[in-house]
């Protein structure tokens, strides 16, 4: 259990999950983005029109980082298993030779 909790992927999933209530809370309380949109709206500029671009920027950035960290941590686990196997095999051969 402790092993699962300390895995980088678990921590990253926890980070992503924690964004959900924050996002809901922000939307519900009409946070500064929306308030600012109203303020700037007085200057005939609709700031909300580019929200999809902003969304894409943040999604791509975090997806890129999470995918990379996931791939690296999985590769590390595979390597650790392979090292362990090779060490065992080598020590078995050496002890068989001596025996």
């Amino acid at each position: 259990m402790k092993r699962i909790l300390t895995r980088p992927l678990t921590i990253l999933i926890a980070i992503v999950a924690s964004f959900v209530p924050a996002g809901v809370a922000t939307a519900a309380s009409a946070g500064p983005i929306f308030r600012a949109a109203q303020v700037v709206g007085q200057d005939n500029t609709n700031t909300e029109t580019n929200l999809d671009f902003l969304f894409a920027i943040y999604i791509i950035t975090w997806a890129g980082f999470f995918t990379y960290i996931f791939i690296v941590s999985r590769r590390q686990r595979t390597m650790e298993r392979e090292i362990e196997g090779l060490k065992q095999l080598l020590s078995q051969r050496q002890s068989a030779e001596k025996g």
Binding site: D43, F53, Q76, M79
Partner: protein, 257 residues
């Protein structure tokens, strides 16, 4: 020892996660919206830190490659590789986020502006570095060639940094680093950018250490396999005919001038 490093890494990742959350709160809840660019200006707090860590990564690759060329120690090469991979990731994300940001502001995804072009050249340099390492026959020769590419690529860093000052570009002026003019940012914007830069730098360090560990494991595996091969297939001295033994001894002797 390994346990202790693992715990430190977890603590570091946890601290980074908290920092990232604080940054996200500041970006979406606290910092005011820029009046002219509107909501999409919030891309700044990701785009600039990505540019920052890609430049730091390039600096680390160049320094580690130089140390590898001087000392020949594998440790430096591993650091260079880890930083190059992380830097290419950050550089790719920087170019992609820049293109997405450019579309609503400049009405084009890409323009052959001095800043953008020199950044693309830098990105290609480090992609070439990774490709050279991936496709050249493994060995010190390939690693040395890659190290030379890395050092040469670093020459482009000051050109990228000062491009907006040296040429007339569509790209905004510098707001981070030694020649920065951040007067266009309010104090909240400046603070948010600073916190974001710290968070991304922390993430870069975590990824660098993680990738470095993988590289060390790869080297350990190749050493173990070599040891295994030598152990299994090397004929014992008694099995080798005398002629072959003498040939081996001759081959082992250094060649004179």
């Amino acid at each position: 020892m390994v346990e202790s490093i693992g715990t430190k890494r977890t603590v570091w990742l946890f601290a980074t996660a908290v920092l990232v959350l604080v940054t996200m709160w500041m970006i979406f809840e606290w910092v005011p919206t820029e009046r002219n660019l509107g909501v999409v200006q919030r891309a700044l707090y990701v785009h600039v830190p990505l540019a920052w860590i890609s430049m730091v990564a390039v600096g680390v690759v160049a320094a580690a490659s130089l140390m590898y060329l001087i000392t020949g120690k594998r440790r430096w090469d591993s650091i260079a590789l880890a930083s190059a991979e992380t830097g290419v990731l950050a550089g790719t994300l920087m170019l992609v986020t820049g293109a997405i940001w450019a579309k609503p502001i400049w009405n084009v995804w890409w323009t052959w502006d001095a800043k953008l072009t020199t950044t693309a050249i830098l990105w290609f340099f480090y992609v070439a570095y990774l490709m050279l390492r991936a496709f050249a026959p493994p060995g010190n020769q390939a690693y040395r060639m890659a190290a030379v590419v890395a050092v040469l690529g670093a020459v482009d860093v000051p050109i990228v940094y000062y491009a907006a000052d040296l040429w007339r570009t569509a790209h905004p002026e510098l707001i981070i680093g030694p020649a920065a003019d951040s007067s266009g940012l309010t104090s909240e914007m400046g603070l948010t950018l600073l916190v974001s830069v710290v968070a991304f730098t922390s993430l870069y360090i975590y990824m660098l250490v993680d990738r470095y560990r993988v590289r060390q494991s790869e080297l350990e595996i190749s050493d173990l396999k070599r040891e295994m091969r030598n152990y299994l297939y090397a004929p014992s001295t008694s099995d080798v005919p005398a002629t072959a033994q003498s040939l081996r001894a001759a081959a082992a002797e250094p060649i004179g001038d």
